[in-house]
């Protein structure tokens, strides 16, 4: 794992977005699913607020469908391959702050890359989210970052699937922060971005979180990120 820390006093934590591209049909993915769960729960790096997302891709849906997978997420991973100049895509893959990538289950390398990402300063971002009349009213605000894209992911906190076919047949897979919807809500312009949107509620039950992030579309770099757990 990343290594536990017992911290005697609170330190400021820089938010870092950790995206896991995964699939229920992929035999190598369960250890990465467990790693992302551990990162979310343990928060093992004292200076980092690790905000995680599990993004299920469709290219393993050859004979049985991963109910969390979507073409939009597959395309997101393909976009990273292009931006990061990677020969292709694979699962499980971790993308750290849109800048660095490694094999999904590789905790030591993930730690090294997170520490690298922490060297970049990040402006503070505020997010509030409330469930109102079947919608998720979300407000996102931050200063600066003009020209970058603002995205909001709605993710199921914990999801479980008993897999019946394929490499993971017979296993019960547990996923953390499973992306069920990803919306582009605007482009940062001027000094301050402050936008409220009513996002449709995806077909999930209760436990979910809303993650907002600002991404440089030319480099893929995550410039700011924040989350609200409902």
């Amino acid at each position: 794992m990343l290594g536990l820390c017992l911290c005697s006093q609170a330190q400021p934590r820089t938010p870092i977005l950790v995206e896991l591209f995964t699939a229920e049909g992929c035999g190598a993915c369960p250890p990465a699913d467990e790693l992302i769960t551990a990162i979310d729960q343990i928060q093992p790096i004292p200076t980092a607020n690790l905000i995680v997302l599990s993004e299920h891709v469709t290219y393993w849906d050859t004979s049985s469908r991963d109910r969390f997978a979507s073409t939009a997420l597959t395309n997101r991973q393909l976009g990273y391959a292009k931006l990061l100049k990677i020969e292709g895509v694979y699962t499980p893959q971790l993308i750290i702050d849109g800048q660095y990538e490694c094999t999904g289950g590789n905790g030591p390398e993930a730690k090294r890359l997170i520490l690298e990402a922490l060297k970049q300063p990040k402006p503070q971002m505020e997010i509030t989210a409330n469930r109102i009349n079947g919608k998720i009213k979300t407000n996102v605000s931050f200063f600066g970052l003009s020209g970058a894209t603002v995205l909001v992911a709605i993710a199921e906190n914990l999801a479980e699937t008993k897999v019946s076919k394929g490499e993971n047949a017979g296993k019960t897979l547990k996923h953390t922060a499973v992306v069920r919807a990803l919306h582009t809500i605007g482009t940062a312009e001027g000094l301050r971005f402050d936008t409220t949107v009513d996002l449709p509620m995806p077909p999930i039950v209760d436990n979910f979180r809303v993650v907002a992030f600002v991404q440089d579309s030319k480099t893929g770099r995550i410039l700011a990120v924040a989350q609200s757990k409902l």
């Binding site: 190598a28 467990e34 050859t62 292709g88 076919k165």
Partner: protein, 132 residues
């Protein structure tokens, strides 16, 4: 689980772990797969569900309407150096200038650390009649 992840030796992902070559005669082709260390190829016998089995298709169906490739053993996953044998039964004579056959492959491969999406490769081989 947390600590067992520390014990695994991780290697850089190889996104092109299977190298293919196609050779042969008008009677039989040999499709050779050289599979990188740590990786496995899902074979012709892989049952439905999950990763796809290896698919081999000829474009020149006017010469080769059907094929029945075989693999060295019935395993669902293969590793190392593997020869697939494809007996040929041409239904038309080979032209004097030779016959170029195009073979389309579709396959999936994994290591114990990563899995790759279905991959396509196109191979070709030129056959000449025995009299040439």
């Amino acid at each position: 689980m947390f600590y067992s992840l520390l014990l695994l030796a991780y290697f850089a992902p190889n996104l092109n772990p299977v190298q293919w070559t196609l050779t042969g005669t008008p009677k039989q082709l040999v499709l050779h797969a050289s599979i990188s260390e740590h990786y496995k190829l899902y074979s012709l016998t892989k049952p439905k569900g999950g990763p796809i089995p290896l698919e081999i298709k000829f474009r020149e169906t006017n010469y080769v309407p059907a094929i029945h490739p075989t693999q060295p053993n019935p395993a669902h996953q293969l590793s190392g150096e593997v020869d697939f044998t494809i007996p040929l039964k041409l239904i038309k004579p080979i032209p004097a200038e030779g016959l170029q056959l195009h073979v389309d492959l579709r396959y999936q491969s994994c290591s114990d650390q990563i899995c790759l999406p279905p991959t396509r490769r196109e191979l070709e081989v030129t056959l000449h009649s025995a009299s040439h």
